[in-house]
Symmetry: C2
Subunit: 256 residues, 2 copies
DNA sequence: TACCGCTTGTGAACGCTTGCACAAAGTCGG
DNA sequence: CCGACTTTGTGCAAGCGTTCACAAGCGGTA
């Protein structure tokens, strides 16, 4: 049931090197993984990395699910998308799981990152230790302000936005991060795309127009705030309304 | 069909003040709005605000959907969750729509924000203009380092984390932002919760444990990167695999 | 070797979300 | 005043993701 797409695919299974599992299987599976599951796999990986450091060698779905804040059935299903690497009656080997998730997420290759827009956020991103430590070295910084170019930020030189194509090609940038003001975002995006960057993380509060082959993820801090605001308002309304019943929605008592 | 929950609810409809629509209806509707729709409403609001500045007074679902990057049917359904405020044959009055979305999202009240952890990211957040301009004034900053306390950042004084309860109460903080290293995040979270903060935006790469009545949203930059990495890998695999058919998955030609 | 208890992996049901298609409802031109 | 045209609002069906529940499989033990 897992791989319904393409039983007759054109992938040639190399006869040698197929000791434990076939690369073609990994490839087929990667396509069937739901978007939501991919996001969770990244979380599992983070938790598991912490486990490795603590010297944990084996973990059950129940434990891992608890640490990752999800249902254990969901965790097992998520892991089943990438194959069966657990041992019934025992659990999962932590290191094996880490290496398989890393492979599925494509973390065996380095992904160089370019940050465009060296304002407050750009500075923070350039200095953020979480990227290099997880396999995403910041390889290039760009800004339109000539006063900023040349001066390194976090040890990385800032280049002018006009040099984006050559610099990105040179340093093999595969992910572009847009941290510019909203007015500039679309233009920067277009330049990144024409520089060959196919994955973009957008912090600017605008909807970017890109070709189909480009993947965009957006992080809009104000939207996150507004979603929280909605919940505040909803809660306040419940307090004014349903609390006459003594209990809020979902059986949760307000301020227990 | 809309409000299936609680036909016999204890909400008293105030007889006066019920000119155009009843407040109780707004309250009932807010609960029925799907989470995904709430996130999109925030996006619509942003687009609409831009329209107002451009002097646009009326907009059709088709236009707005295009600008927000969604299907027009989905947009109409999202708007129907908050009521019928469009005119058939014409479209939506931009200002009316803006004010209704603002009301639903609870943006009629100010939501003061506290940022904890004045490192790179905390600095950027304190200086970020996007918060105050959209009704989320940063009212307090906290750090554990005594060298930082007292020195204002972005015009806001930095207080010591130990004063979090009194300062939050004093300045009516309703949203806490965690921008600390991962090791400190859970402790900070606990302190925010005991200070009465019920909404938290977490930038630290850890899964926070909170009581049921607290709403947490997380932004994990490394996870975003890894999701992009997954798509890079998938694309590379397709290039090695399915492209023998000439066309990638979904009929999209790789690098057209 | 055979049994027992534990945990995985997954078929199946459920619920939420999306997209379609069309009736209802309003405007505009004659 | 009427008819044609435009656009909203929504019932309905399809798709996707989540959850449940349990058979299958493995290690430990006698």
């Amino acid at each position: 049931m897992a791989a319904q797409r393409g039983e007759g695919d054109g992938v040639v299974t190399r006869p040698g090197e197929t000791g434990t599992e076939a690369p073609a299987d990994v490839r087929e599976r990667a396509r069937a993984i739901p978007e939501a599951a991919v996001a969770r796999l990244a979380v599992y990986l983070r938790v598991l990395s912490g486990m490795v450091e603590q010297g944990v060698t084996t973990i059950s779905s129940e434990e891992l699910a608890g640490a990752a804040g999800v249902n254990s059935a969901k965790l097992r299903k998520d892991l089943s998308y990438i194959g069966s690497y657990g041992t019934r009656g025992v659990g999962y080997d932590v290191e094996v799981l880490v290496s398989h998730i890393e492979r599925i997420l494509g973390l065996t290759r380095k992904h160089s990152v370019a940050v465009v827009g060296i304002g407050n956020l750009g500075h923070a991103l350039a200095n953020y230790g979480g990227f290099p430590s997880r396999g995403f070295p910041v390889a290039a910084l760009f800004d339109i302000d000539p006063d900023l170019t040349g001066v390194p930020v976090g040890g990385i030189p800032v280049d002018h936005i006009d040099d984006i194509t050559t610099v990105c090609a040179e340093r093999e940038v595969s992910i572009g991060v847009i941290a510019t003001p909203p007015q500039a975002a679309q233009a920067v995006c277009d330049r990144l795309v024409s520089a060959g960057v196919q994955c973009i993380l957008n912090f600017a509060p605008v909807v970017l127009q890109v070709p189909d082959y480009v993947e965009v993820r957006k992080v809009d801090l104000a939207v996150e705030m507004q979603i929280l605001s909605f919940h505040v308002a909803r809660r306040a309304d419940e307090a004014a309304g349903d609390v006459v019943n003594g209990i809020g929605v979902d059986g949760v008592v307000i301020r227990p």
